[in-house]
């Protein structure tokens, strides 16, 4: 019962949210200025007889077209009438017209939107059909039809503006209502049998008021432009009664004598439309912010871990790049943008790949594996930074490459296939045209030879009918086919190293094995090396010679795959292995590592794995050095599992 009462008390909170849209919008200076300006305009229009210095239609033929003077701050028109007074009085007509249009649009739009969104079904279909039609009606000419029939009747014209403008409001309200309808307290209210009308008015309407404010504000600007347009054409309120549009028309007759007259009339219209627009934008931004922030505020008071505090990979002098390695990464540190600052996401990472080798980079999601792959290719996401470290390929420091050199490098020396093959192909081009482009770029071939090479590549990745596949668009491919196409496009430049980022994650299990076999075959026939990024021990074990285990931005252990399997030394590696079904004991619950990888920015001091580690001890808070307990076997831990009490017990301890 508590949930229901809670659910039903939500509308009160919703009303709060609405007031907060206004309050927060009011914290933006532009919104304050806009609202203040509009309030001033409305007040001046209401109090026109008190504030206007002159009678707006009193002519003074001694002072015609005077320009701004002390007597007439905005000048006089061709009949010597005071422009300031005419602007103030004109606001009465113009703003009244806007109000008429806005009220009409609000009434129609909100009722239609609520009905369509809340009742749905036929009501929704009929209303969306009507709004589609009304939206396509050309506005001004329809207003002219109305005016042709009813004569110069401003109110009729502005109500017509409201009718023609209601669909956009109805759509916004419908969308917002659809979202609110699903929420618990609405469902509860319906379950209690409250009548629909009362739910809509009392519970739904307050919640959708944010979008209504935004749309109404924007519509008011449009209505004002329509009103002044009619005024300019002389079709609304008739002269000599001043309207803002009429002021522009007056000015247009004397532009060769007193062009100044265009200024006050244009300015007052422009500023008012602008104020409506800015107010709408500000309210939209605040509603968007609110949505982004979500109903519950996450406590952001996490332990903030500064980049400067992180430990380098090795204690003492950093190891130099390995000259015999094809790819040698040393102390690569990558920081991601985080609010105002940067947070380290890859921390002093070092790895080597030797020619023809297949190397795994293993770890749970969120460890920084993909980022490392992108970092090697110099393709970090916008805003992020490689803070330190070196990436050497074939003896060249990649930091020295300029844009042109990078372009020649990518695809032909190192290529990348990334996760989710469907999204990695341009949906608008056929497979053939996408591959042609890369082939042309890397080989310098032209004409028919390009397509021939493309088909060859598609055949290389064992696609059954290359000709036919080349003519398909990405959405016509299965996941496995898309991944093969993606591999083919990575092979277009015959790279020496291929980085495969989770190449099988998005695929069906049966297809996964095929893709892995294909990668292994290609790697052998082309003699390239392969860096396989994966969270899946099985994948790494099947393909790789060596593997690096990564946790929270750091490499925690590296060795040959056989060794890692037989004698894992780092508790995290052992934990990952224990989580493998085939190593689990029969009739024992499947072992998992408790907790989750901490996000960049909330890494603990010392060992990053400490909070989840069963072996953690007070010393783990210190910076952990990388040690080499056996030749070619590196790890970052002070508790070597093979040394502590004998290996098998430790595994048991981790599983506990």
């Amino acid at each position: 019962m508590t949930t229901l009462t809670d659910a039903l008390s939500a509308p009160a909170a919703a009303t709060d949210a609405r007031t907060r849209v206004w309050l927060r919008a009011m914290r933006r200076p532009l919104a304050v200025i806009s609202a203040g300006y509009l309030a001033l305009m409305i007040l001046a229009a209401i109090a026109a007889p008190l504030v206007a210095p002159y009678d707006p239609i009193a002519t003074d033929l001694n002072h015609v077209l005077s320009g701004p003077t002390a007597l007439h701050p905005l000048g006089t028109d061709m009949l010597g009438r005071d422009v300031l007074s005419r602007v103030i009085y004109g606001g009465r007509i113009t703003l009244t017209g806007v109000a008429e249009a806005v009220l009409t649009a609000l009434f129609l739009g909100v009722s239609a939107g609520l009905l369509a969104g809340f009742i749905g079904g036929w009501a929704d279909r009929v209303i969306s059909w009507v709004t589609d039609i009304v939206m396509a009606i050309p506005v001004i000419v329809t207003l002219l039809v109305v005016l042709a029939v009813v004569g110069s009747n401003e109110t009729a014209a502005m109500i017509a503006v409201g009718i023609l403008g209601f669909p956009s409001l109805a759509r916004v309200v419908r969308g917002a209502t659809l979202a609110v309808r699903q929420e618990l307290y609405i469902t509860a209210a319906r379950a209690f049998g409250l009548p629909n009308r009362s739910i809509m008015v009392r519970h739904v309407l307050p919640r959708v008021s944010g979008p209504i404010i935004v749309q109404t504000s924007l519509f008011a600007g449009g209505a004002l432009l329509a009103e002044t347009g009619l005024g300019y054409l002389g079709l609304g309120v008739q002269a000599p009664t001043p309207t803002w549009g009429g002021l522009v028309a007056d000015a247009s007759t004397v532009i060769d004598q007193q062009p100044w007259l265009l200024v006050p009339s244009g300015l007052v219209i422009g500023l008012t439309v602008l104020a409506f627009g800015l107010l709408g934008d500000a309210s939209r931004d605040t509603t968007a912010e609110q949505r982004a922030r979500g109903p519950v505020r996450h406590s952001s008071k996490r332990l903030v871990h500064r980049t400067s505090g992180s430990a380098p990979d090795t204690i003492g002098a950093p190891r130099p790049p390995d000259p015999s390695a094809q790819l040698s990464v040393r102390d690569l540190t990558i920081a991601l943008p985080n609010g105002a600052g940067l947070t380290t996401a890859v921390d002093h990472l070092s790895l080597d790949i030797f020619p023809g080798e297949t190397v795994g980079l293993l770890g749970e999601s969120g460890c920084g594996k993909s980022l490392t792959g992108r970092g090697i290719l110099g393709l970090l996401p916008p805003g992020s930074q490689a803070r330190s470290g070196r990436v050497c390929f074939d003896g060249t420091d990649l930091a020295a490459l300029n844009r042109t050199a990078w372009r020649r490098f990518r695809g032909s020396r190192i290529a990348l296939i990334s996760q989710d093959p469907m999204n990695c192909l341009d949906p608008t081009f056929t497979v053939g045209r996408q591959l042609d482009e890369l082939v042309r770029r890397h080989t310098g071939l032209s004409g028919r030879a390009v397509r021939a090479r493309t088909l060859e590549l598609l055949a290389d990745v064992k696609l059954p009918d290359p000709e036919q596949v080349a003519q398909r668009h990405p959405h016509q491919l299965s996941g496995g086919m898309a991944q093969r196409v993606l591999i083919a496009s990575a092979l277009a430049g015959t790279p020496e190293l291929l980085i495969a980022d989770e190449p099988t994650t998005a695929l069906d299990v049966t297809v996964q094995a095929e893709i892995l076999r294909l990668l292994r075959d290609l790697q052998r026939t082309n003699g390239m090396s392969l860096l396989l990024i994966s969270h899946d021990w099985g994948v790494v074990a099947e393909v790789c010679d060596r593997a690096y285990v990564m946790y929270a931005g750091q490499i925690v252990e590296s060795a040959t795959v056989t060794e890692l399997f037989a004698t894992p030394r780092h508790p995290y590696t052992a934990g990952l292995l224990g989580a493998l079904p085939r190593r689990g004991q029969p009739r024992q619950p499947l072992a998992t590592i408790g907790g989750a990888v901490p996000e960049p920015g909330s890494w603990p001091a010392g060992c990053h794995f400490r909070p989840r580690c069963p072996l953690a001890s007070p010393e783990c808070v210190e910076a952990i050095p990388v040690v080499e307990p056996a030749p070619g076997h590196h790890m970052r831990c002070i508790h070597d599992l093979t040394r502590a009490q004998g290996g098998s017990d430790d595994h048991a301890e981790i599983r506990a």
Binding site: L233, G411, C424, P427, E437
Partner: protein
Amino acid sequence: MRALILRRLLISIPLVVVVSWLTFLLQQLAPGDTARAILGEHYTPEAYAQLRHQLGLDQPLLVQYGHWLAHAVRGDLGVSSITGLDVGAEIGTRLGVTLSLIIATTVVAAVLGIALGTLSAVRGGAVGRAVDVLSLAGFALPSFWLALVLVTLFAVVLRLLPATGYTPFAESPGDWLRGLILPVAALAVHGLAAVAKQTRNGLLDALGRDFVLSLRANGASELSILLRHALRNAAIPVVTVIGLVFVSLLNGTVLVEAVFAMPGLGGLAVQSTTQHDLPAIQAVAITFTLIVVAVNLLVDLAYGWLNPKVRVR
């Protein structure tokens, strides 16, 4: 694709019917009477009744509408109740002016808007701010006012361009072009800014997608990624905006034709409104509606061309 066009037609036909009906319904409410307007102040009741019968005004509304529709589909839009001239012919002579203006403006807004949007997506900074300022100006300043400012500057002060009038293309292409510069400039600001903003947002969105990373990583050139891949992926909403710009120009043209005294459909609409010339204003409304229908169909066809998923289905 076929479904898309079918859906569009399902809206378009009722749209034309609704607009024509609307004008008919409104006629019934008209305080002014066409027969009285033609006869002037002094007339006999017999002459009045005869004229009403002649004009078909004594028939039931539905019959009048059916009568009008039967003629309209054959291109006969009736005669002006003021001048007695054939409305269809009048529209025919004026259509060229309005279409010249609207099409030229759309082309300018689309080409410059896409260029500016692309530039601001790549460069940001000053170009980005220029687009923002332009879109604020285009949003807030009425086109007729902007037109007057341009006339003051380029026609009255600098005397570079004609202040008013329209020269048909067949008569002198050079004068035709000179006459279009100022009206097009006044009308284009709004659409140009809208297209530029949409292009920028669409490009930034497309450039953040996975396939762009894939293309980059495998060596595609930045220029090709931007102009071939990203722009094409961003194109659908841009085309939508261009379609909306074209339709909104039907509003703008009524006002801007008035500023430049151009003999287009907008001028006819204003003139027939002040004169209560219902057959004429009705014909303009129908013409505009048909233009909207045609543009929307073109936009739908463009979707199919740009989005292979739509094309296949």
